[in-house]
């Protein structure tokens, strides 16, 4: 089976996010005064072939731990959807 995978990676809370801070200021300068706590993370999407959803899920978990996120500074979440579905 094939699953549509979305991985979300963000800096741990408390970690400085210069990019996020810059964007928040820029938005403020644009007149959007109501913005708080803006953070910029990564959104990684791909299709994954595998035998069953359990196998797929554990693979994604492993990819995140080993490569997609750096546990020292980042947290991750992911979502798998049967292809076609969402």
């Amino acid at each position: 089976m094939t699953a549509r995978v979305e991985v979300f990676v963000r800096l741990k809370p408390g970690m400085l996010d210069p990019q996020g801070a810059t964007l928040e200021h820029a938005l403020e300068a644009l007149g959007y005064s109501g913005v708080r706590g803006l953070r910029v993370g990564k959104w990684i999407t791909f299709d994954l072939e595998g035998d069953d959803s359990a196998a797929l899920e554990s693979q994604v978990e492993e990819m995140c731990r080993r490569l997609l996120a750096n546990p020292v500074i980042e947290r991750y979440e992911y979502r798998l959807a049967r292809d076609g579905a969402e």
Binding site: M15, Q19, T22, K42, L67, L68, V72, I73
Partner: protein
Amino acid sequence: MSDRVPVGVVRFPGTNCDQDVWDAVSSVAPARPVWLWHKERDIRHVRAIVLAGGFSYGDYLRAGAIARFSPIMEEVVRFARAGGPVLGVCNGFQILTEAGLLPGALTRNDRTTFVCRPQWLKVEATDPPFTRAYTPGEVVRFPVAHAEGRYVAPPDVLDRLEAEGRVVFRYVDANGERTPESNPNGSLHDIAGIVNEARNVLGLMPHPDRAMDLRLGSEDGRGVFRGLVEAAA
């Protein structure tokens, strides 16, 4: 020639300071640089290893994140664990943290942009072999050139690094003072370089390999390479 100490210079796809490091190693009398290709698995012929600067795998995802899975890195880790001297400069430092040979991580500069400038550093620790050539507290100048050089680590790790005297280089100004302007990237504790517990692995963001020639503004970097080679001899 062949009785000179063989120093491995690792080349990943995207490494671009390899020639600079090669020249730096060659300029240290008893040393002989040797290329190490990222796909190699046999490194028994080298006695020290340098991970040079650059953009391994384009720095895509995170600087050093992909390179650390290269075949050669398994050997580098084994070599380091066995006490062999390993120096990681700039991207090399990033790879060493990703590989877990050094604690913490290197994140985007607080200024968000790449910064290339001459940089004053204070040599905080002279017990690691890499800095024996310097006097404690000596202020030296190596250039920095990076976009992801902001050193971060959890508080307990930082405390431990400080307590164990493992912060080897700190960003300072010409007078050796720590000021906001003297820190080019927002590194915590103004950290520019650290060693592992055993003190045989040094990672630093500034480029000693670019401070080997007065014509280029400084030769303060020679000590680092001399130290590396002496540790291997």
